[in-house]
């Protein structure tokens, strides 16, 4: 048996070997050639060399000693793409021109930025300067250099202080813009329905009802990303808990004695949207990639999302009549509010090798002309006082609401660290119909107590 197999085997392969050898040789040759060519191509595409370092100090900051020119390479990590990303790249290029001895490498990541940063934190291997996207105090502060002594610290906008400063008054990032968030609205639909911009929650629900009857999605919920329902809870919480309240809720949350039954109306708001059919049918599974489309295509009336979606809308169709409005409040006497806080912000890794260069970079970014550019690209008010900004398409909206107070995001100030994930969890459970408001509140309470005690 064995011999027979052996004979067949060797004959079979001896015959095939010659034919195969030839074909194999040709393929190997092609692949090797392809490899060599592409490797050469990759090498040739090296960046143009940085201008030769000069001995004369041209750093432009009065703080640094005049003789020391900045030398070194640093890494700058950001989440921004599109217009904002381009502006940042431009500014970095200008910074490098001013400091010929410095080379800044820009690393951009969007969806995976946070996971990447977490892995890097675990290995204590952070970029020298990186974007903190609102989490400078709560998540990244362990690794950030306190920036309270910086020259631009005094001109930091007051609205930022609540969400960026710890108990000792230290803050850890330069926020060039103040993040402004309201409810995104498709104005054409609103006009068509003959409704006014809603002020109270009742107004808001009336608009939703009218939209639903006219066949639109009143509130578009991109539930596949669990941040979407969490935004509704987080952004509407002040309306129910903080607005017509004399501070009892705020202090109760601060010392852990909060009565969680008061949270049920917040979750109920989301539940109402679902029960009355105001949300799109695929609220639990729609992808955020389609949000801008819905507004431009006049399929949805409201979206609870950041203003970056507006920029995307205008990218698709510059004529789109979209904007944002303050959040609906309980009664006409309550003051409307927007959510504000840390916007386009950057921090410095405290164990970095070139702290001087990093601080110089932040000072450069904090210059009024650069802050202005950043605000224009992002479409948000300035994070530094005394900077005049004109914001392009979103300007009329920001102008309109310039007197509306900007409250910090609820979970960043009033909830212990880690509750954001619970908001996402309970929010998505509500829109998927997997939990009742009471159950969701119970989960919030349980985790709140646990995380509060761990603080």
């Amino acid at each position: 048996m064995y011999d027979w197999k052996y004979l067949c085997y060797t004959k079979h392969y001896q015959e095939k070997e010659r034919g195969n050898k030839m074909k194999k040789k040709i393929i190997v040759a092609i692949l090797t050639a392809a490899m060599i060519i592409t490797t050469l191509a990759a090498c040739k595409k090296a960046d143009p060399p940085v201008a030769a370092p000069t001995t004369a100090a041209r750093s432009g900051e009065a703080e640094l000693p005049a003789e020391a020119a900045l030398q070194g390479d640093i890494v700058f990590a950001t989440m921004s793409t599109g217009a904002l990303g381009d502006i940042q790249a431009e500014m970095i290029a200008d910074f490098m021109k001013e400091n010929p001895g410095v080379k800044v490498e820009i690393q951009v990541n969007t969806t995976d930025y946070e996971s990447l940063m977490k892995a890097k934190m675990a290995a204590n291997d952070m970029p020298d300067v990186f974007m903190t996207h609102g989490w400078s105090l709560i998540r990244y502060s362990e690794y950030l250099l306190p920036l309270t002594g910086e020259p631009w610290a005094e001109t930091m906008a007051d609205t930022l202080k609540a969400s960026m400063c710890d108990e000792d008054g230290n803050f850890y990032a330069l926020s060039t813009t103040v993040d402004l968030t309201g409810v995104l609205v498709q104005m054409d639909i609103l006009k068509e329905l003959g409704m006014e911009m809603p002020v109270t929650v009742d107004n808001f629900l009336e608009c939703c009802e009218a939209a639903k009857n006219a066949g639109y999605d009143a509130v578009f919920m991109a539930g596949k990303d669990t941040r979407s329902p969490a935004y509704v809870l987080d952004l509407m919480a002040p309306s129910f808990l903080l607005n017509n309240d004399d501070g009892t809720n705020a202090s109760a949350l601060a010392d852990g004695s909060f009565d969680w039954d008061l949270w049920i109306p917040v979750v109920d708001f989301l539940q109402t949207l679902k029960d009355n059919g105001y949300m799109n049918i695929d609220c639990a599974t729609a992808d955020t990639i389609f949000q801008a489309e819905k507004l431009v295509n006049k399929e949805a009336l409201f979206i609870f999302q950041r203003n970056s979606v507006l920029s995307q809308c205008w990218e698709i169709s510059p004529e789109a009549n979209v904007g944002f409005i303050p959040f609906p409040v309980q009664s006409a006497e309550d003051s409307p509010y927007l959510a504000g806080g840390e916007g386009v912000a950057f921090g410095i890794w405290k164990d970095g090798k070139h702290l001087d260069i990093a601080r110089a970079l932040l000072e450069f970014l904090a210059r009024p002309e650069n802050v202005e550019k950043m605000c224009y690209a992002e479409g948000a008010p300035s994070g530094q006082k005394n900077v005049e900004v004109s914001l392009g398409k979103i300007d009329p909206w920001v102008e309109q609401w310039s007197d509306v107070k900007a409250l910090p995001w609820f979970d960043r100030v009033y909830l212990p660290s880690g509750m954001w994930a619970i908001l996402r969890d309970t929010g998505s459970a509500i829109i998927a119909g997997e939990a009742t408001p009471e159950e969701a509140t119970a989960i919030m309470k349980e985790n709140y107590l646990k995380l509060f005690s761990q603080q």
């Binding site: 064995y2 197999k5 052996y6 085997y9 392969y13 070997e17 195969n20 194999k24 393929i27 092609i30 692949l31 392809a34 490899m35 592409t38 490797t39 191509a41 990759a42 595409k45 960046d47 989440m79 921004s80 793409t81 599109g82 990303g85 490498e105 820009i106 690393q107 951009v108 990541n109 969007t110 969806t111 995976d112 990447l116 892995a119 890097k120 675990a122 290995a123 204590n124 291997d125 955020t288 990639i289 389609f290 949000q291 801008a292 489309e293 431009v296 295509n297 995307q312 698709i316 169709s317």
Partner: protein, 274 residues
């Protein structure tokens, strides 16, 4: 008899046609999305009146496709080289020596296939930081090679087991050392299964996402997969360019597959199914 054969053939052609439709559907949708303009929301099954090839241009430019392809090609080629050589080398004793030791080692190899990448991600990342392997070619090549070894060892050891032992024993009696047996007798006959191993592992390395994401952070070193997924990320809502990018990214693999597919089937015959 002939009529029966022809009937059989047309029947098979018919079934084959429907199967092709079913499996090509996702790609068709991809193509229609890629050639539509950005604001075009017509059904995904209909082709637009004008083909918007600029989506492909956007994909090429923004995705810096050519560079990422060369980076990925480089990494894939060397990883595959390592996987093939180390794998064959390790598979020989595992196929020949049936001791408890070799069985444990085989089990170890199989076990590596089952480790969910995320469980080891952060300790692995810390390790790479310590040995300064981040943002280096050798770092990602060694990692891809390590996690691609099990499949290679698996297929090679199955294949070597079918090469009759008598050959080895004859050579041993003639006074050959085990090493020369490997290099002179076994290695030349590994050609058919090598092409299947190459196809399987090259595709896995090319499409790997987690390792490349965390190890290759420098923009110059981004691979094709990273470039493609950035089109689907938060910052970009241009689905049409994303679809165009996806189509472009699959072309090199298709070419390699078409070139090697005959050998692939032969190799699988010899290694996996005897």
């Amino acid at each position: 008899m002939k009529r029966k054969k022809r009937l059989g053939r047309s029947f098979r052609n018919l079934i084959g046609f429907f199967i092709i439709l079913l499996h090509a559907a996702p790609f068709y949708v991809l193509i229609t999305t890629a050639v539509k303009a950005r604001g075009n929301y017509s059904s995904r099954w209909t082709l637009p009146k004008n083909f918007h090839w600029e989506n492909f241009m956007i994909a090429l430019q923004d995705g810096k496709l050519l560079r990422s392809m060369s980076v990925t090609l480089f990494i894939t080629a060397f990883s595959t080289l390592l996987i093939v050589s180390i794998g064959a080398f390790a598979a020989y004793p595992l196929a020949r020596f049936r001791s408890r030791m070799s069985k444990t080692v085989s089990l170890l190899m199989l076990g590596v296939m089952m480790v969910p990448p995320l469980s080891v991600l952060v300790p692995l990342y810390r390790l790479m930081v310590t040995i300064h392997g981040l943002n280096t070619y050798w770092g990602i090549i060694i990692l891809s090679a390590t996690y691609g070894l099990p499949v290679s060892v698996f297929m090679y050891s199955n294949f070597i087991a079918t090469i009759p032992r008598d050959l080895d024993d004859a050579a041993l009696i003639d006074g050959c050392s085990r090493y020369s047996i490997f290099f002179r007798i076994i290695l030349p006959s590994l050609k058919p299964v090598t092409s299947s191993v190459i196809i399987m592992t090259a595709i896995n390395v090319w499409n790997d996402y987690s390792f490349q994401l965390y190890i290759l952070q420098k923009p110059k070193m981004r691979t094709v997969t990273l470039m493609m997924t950035s089109f689907f990320g938060d910052g970009n809502t241009n689905m049409n360019a994303a679809a165009a990018a996806t189509i472009l990214s699959i072309i090199p693999l298709v070419l390699i597959y078409l070139a090697l597919s005959k050998y692939f089937v032969q190799g699988v015959i010899d290694s996996a199914v005897k």
